[in-house]
């Protein structure tokens, strides 16, 4: 038994024990026990994943445990990365849950399911056969669904979100299952080892890839199968949102990389162009919706779609390079994609937990009613600011490093490639750039409107800081963000090992220097230079030049009396220019009602402005399908009149029909 196997075993045991504890421990201590248990589960998962990344792979099979195929687990470098990431997120979410779940989330079922969800997510990347994978995947889907529904008594929207999630996640599961079963049937065995050594015809391989891609992409929240994500993530409890958004969606990427690169050994160019196009479209569309949205958690949900889109841009580019024989660049691109998975996990955990803290302290997620939280919630404000910096791809932030790596891969891909690549690369760069720019606008809005200036509503005015356990959970994620931002070289070897293409850098501790293509960046030196610049400026200005003391004064109000919170810019008004520029893409619905005074229609009493931004992809794609389903349903209603005899009769007729068919065709 090596460390990977032991760690995973311990994590599984701890998770199940915590789940049982959630069922039996009295209500008062339940959140603390389960939270600690979950954090320990994650803490056991991290070394398992790291050990696997360091080369300690293992595999076990228990043939009799499941009918037909048995159970097979195994951990290699690729799986190890995702196990480590999931474990890390679980630690932060578990600790945070101790304080967060104390308010209305101590129901037995919710508490028991939470650690099981973590265990399921740890087991998915450790599954080594189709059967095991399907069982773990389904366990993950079911537990997450129960957690999404945790607050369904309090808010009616939760039920609707749960329905969307249930339907889409299971449709995704069905396509993945069909794809893998077809694969296994052609390979003549259901273990991943058998699949790896199988030789599929081009058409079969393509069918397998497209089917699994559809399912995995829907799990990763990729366009056009993203509709569940901006619904389910905001409605779930915040530590669950963090787990879903930072750990669960990654497993969609895991699936695509596992099937595409590992099991099918790459494929023709069009597969990867498809992945690239889906990724670029999701990135731009996701961040555009995030830039316009006012619901803090929904905004973060759309940002998940964006970041996973960026990851798929990297995965698609890697596949494209590998298909044209440029393994060095493929390594850079895939390392960039997987590094972004890690980075996204870190900052999205932090952001969702901080959003939960805001919800906990103010009772609202609507940015238009927030503001001024820096006084009442200073720690949360600081941590959210750090997360926003990390998410917006600006220099001392986390996402900047992985996006830099991604852009390096895209830029070096041009000269040596064919026409398809030459056309795809500039467009991909443009998409990544637009995404980065809009991400800046989004997070300036989220942080500037949500936390700075004056409170815009009573909830924000009466906000209070969160308990220490929640702050500790967030602090942990913030430390991870900081380390990843300043010293990415600490994780890059592991990420590169997971990619299977080898380390693209020369392996220096401080500087990222790409090994076989030109490209150098040192985030640590950059931060130091910034600090030095700030210190020198401060010393010169405060020390030598400006001798007069700072004084406080009223805001400039044009002499009209003190400014009130009603005069501030809101999130809606902040996003208005972006919304207008992208009018043709998002098609917002606005209406303005003007009430006039009774005396004269020239005197305006009140102006009401309402704006709704429906998800356009949803409207164009889903509504026709739903309408068709409804039409079928009502057409079929005459068949079901409530008589039990009739239903039994249908069964009987069908059995007879099948028998007759057999008799005739034999």
């Amino acid at each position: 038994m090596n460390l990977a196997a032991t760690g995973l075993g311990v994590a599984g045991t701890l998770g199940v024990v915590s789940a049982l504890a959630g069922l039996v421990v009295p209500r008062g201590a339940r959140a603390a026990v389960v939270g600690t248990g979950t954090a320990l589960t994650g803490a056991a998962g991290v070394p398992a994943g790291v050990a696997a990344l360091a080369g300690q792979s293992f595999s076990v099979t228990w043939p009799g445990l499941l009918p037909l195929s048995g159970v097979a687990f195994g951990l290699d470098t690729l799986g190890g990365l995702f196990v480590a990431v999931t474990g890390g997120v679980a630690i932060a979410a578990g600790i945070y849950g101790i304080g967060y779940a104390r308010h209305g989330l101590q129901a037995r079922a919710t508490q028991a399911v939470f650690p099981l969800f973590v265990v399921a997510m740890l087991l998915v990347p450790a599954s080594a056969s189709v059967g095991t994978f399907a069982v773990c995947w389904e366990l993950m889907a079911a537990t997450s669904l129960l957690l999404v529904l945790a607050e369904h008594r309090r808010r009616p929207e939760v039920a609707s979100a749960g329905r969307w999630y249930a339907v889409m996640t299971h449709l995704g599961f069905v396509t993945v299952l069909i794809g893998l079963v077809v694969f296994a049937a052609h390979a003549g065995g259901d273990s991943f080892a058998a699949l790896r050594s199988a030789h599929l015809s081009g058409a079969t391989a393509a069918a397998v890839f497209v089917l699994t891609l559809a399912g995995f992409a829907s799990k990763a929240g990729i366009l056009p199968l993203h509709a569940w994500l901006p619904r389910a993530h905001p409605e779930a409890p915040s530590h669950v949102s963090a787990l879903m958004s930072a750990a669960m969606v990654n497993l969609g990427v895991y699936g695509i990389v596992r099937v595409g690169f590992d099991l099918l050994h790459g494929g023709p160019r069009w597969w990867w162009l498809l992945v690239l196009a889906l990724g670029a479209a999701s990135a731009v569309y996701g961040i555009l919706q995030a830039a316009i949205n006012n619901d803090l958690k929904r905004l973060l949900g759309y940002s998940t779609t964006e970041n996973l889109g960026l990851v798929l841009v990297g995965v698609g580019a890697a596949g494209l390079f590998a298909a044209s024989g440029q393994r060095v660049l493929a390594g850079v691109a895939l390392a960039a994609a997987l590094l972004h998975v890690v980075n996204h996990a870190a900052f999205k955990t932090l952001l969702f937990l901080a959003a939960g803290s805001v919800l906990h302290g103010t009772g609202t997620r609507d940015l238009d009613h927030l503001g001024g939280l820096r006084r009442s919630m200073p720690v949360t404000t600081g941590l959210f600011g750090l997360g926003a910096l990390a998410a917006s791809a600006l220099p001392p932030g986390t996402a900047f490093v992985s996006e830099w790596l991604l852009l390096q891969a895209l830029i070096h891909g041009l000269p040596a490639a064919g026409v398809a690549t030459a056309v795809a690369m500039p467009l991909a760069v443009a998409a990544v750039a637009l995404t980065a720019g809009l991400a800046v606008a989004t997070f300036v809005k989220a942080f500037g409107v949500g936390f700075l200036a004056k409170p815009r509503g009573t909830g924000a005015a009466q906000a209070h800081e969160s308990p220490p356990s929640m702050l500790a959970g967030m602090g942990l994620a913030a430390v991870a963000c900081g380390v990843l931002a300043v010293l990415p070289a600490t994780v890059l070897p592991g990420v590169a090992a997971a990619s299977g293409f080898g380390d693209p850098t020369t392996g220096e501790a401080v500087t990222l220097r790409l090994a076989d293509v030109a490209g150098t960046l040192s985030p640590l030196v950059l931060v130091l230079a910034l600090v030095a610049g700030a210190v020198i400026t401060l010393a010169l200005v405060r020390g030598l030049l400006a001798r007069r003391a700072r004084r406080e004064a009223r805001l400039w109000d044009c002499g009209a009396g003190p400014m009130s919170a009603r005069m501030e810019y809101t999130a809606t008004s902040f996003a208005e220019p972006v919304q207008r520029v992208f009018d043709d893409v998002v098609r917002p619905e606005t209406d303005v009602d003007v009430d006039h005074h009774d005396e004269s229609r020239y005197l305006v009493q009140a102006v009401a402005y309402r704006r709704r931004v429906p998800d356009r992809v949803e409207r164009r794609l889903y509504e026709p399908v739903l309408a068709a389903a409804r039409a079928w349903g009502s057409a079929g209603r005459s068949l079901a009149n409530g008589s039990v005899h009739r239903y039994l009769g249908y069964g009987f007729y069908t059995v007879c029909g099948v028998l007759i068919l057999l008799a005739v065709t034999r």
Binding site: V419, A420, A422, V423, P426, D584
Partner: protein, 216 residues
């Protein structure tokens, strides 16, 4: 040096096509179109210098006279008679979107050109995608503009592109062929000009979408 000049001429060709798509004022569009005529003539002149073929110099001069002189003059006259409608006010696709479409069209042109380039790789044929782009942009202008005059410019842009592709693929298209094409274009422009004048006299405006009503 020859290659550099060729590339510069191609760049100018492309830039003028983009500007025609970008600007709204018809007078500016016509001026830019005249500039494109100059760029096209320069392109042919560079090819002529490379080949050392005297008849190509003649073609270049002809192109200069026709496309930078006669055609813009005709267009300006049509514009002057048109009176008020001096701007392309409401194109079917807004300007920002049409610029982005042009970006995609460029990449499309580059994506489909390699077989043509591969026939006889040389600096001249390398530039075929530029001509293709101008063709596609011209077609796009033709499809999305409302004013008859700007549609006419789109048509002429298309023709400039075709000419450019022709000269870049086979440098010696021949004086006769070019003369024939140019005459055709001139004739087409004259006919269209008469037509637009008639339309205006009859219906008062040249928003071509309104012609749909004639159908009833």
């Amino acid at each position: 040096m020859n290659v550099q000049l060729l590339d510069l001429a191609c760049g100018a060709l492309l830039l003028t096509a983009v500007l025609i798509l970008w600007r709204r004022e018809l007078a500016v569009i016509i001026r830019v179109f005249a500039l494109q005529g100059v760029a096209l003539a320069a392109l042919v002149a560079v090819l002529a210098a490379g080949e050392g073929a005297p008849e190509l110099w003649g073609v270049a001069a002809g192109i200069l006279v026709l496309r930078a002189g006669v055609l813009p003059w005709l267009l300006r006259r049509a514009l002057a008679r048109g009176g008020a409608a001096a701007r392309e006010t409401r194109p079917l696709v807004n300007v920002a979107a049409s610029l982005l479409t042009a970006a995609v069209l460029t990449l499309l042109a580059y994506a489909v050109s390699p077989p043509l380039v591969a026939l006889a790789p040389s600096p001249a044929t390398q530039a075929i995608p530029v001509g293709m782009t101008v063709v596609l942009i011209g077609f796009f202008v033709l499809v999305t503009r409302r004013r008859a005059l700007s549609q006419l410019v789109g048509f002429l842009l298309l023709d400039n592109g075709i000419t450019a592709v022709g000269f870049l693929t086979t440098t010696s298209v021949g004086l006769l062929v070019e003369a024939g094409i140019s005459l055709d274009v001139l004739l087409a422009v004259l006919v269209l000009q008469i037509l637009t004048t008639r339309i205006r006299e009859t219906f008062g405006d040249t928003d071509l979408d309104e012609l749909r009503e004639l159908h009833d």
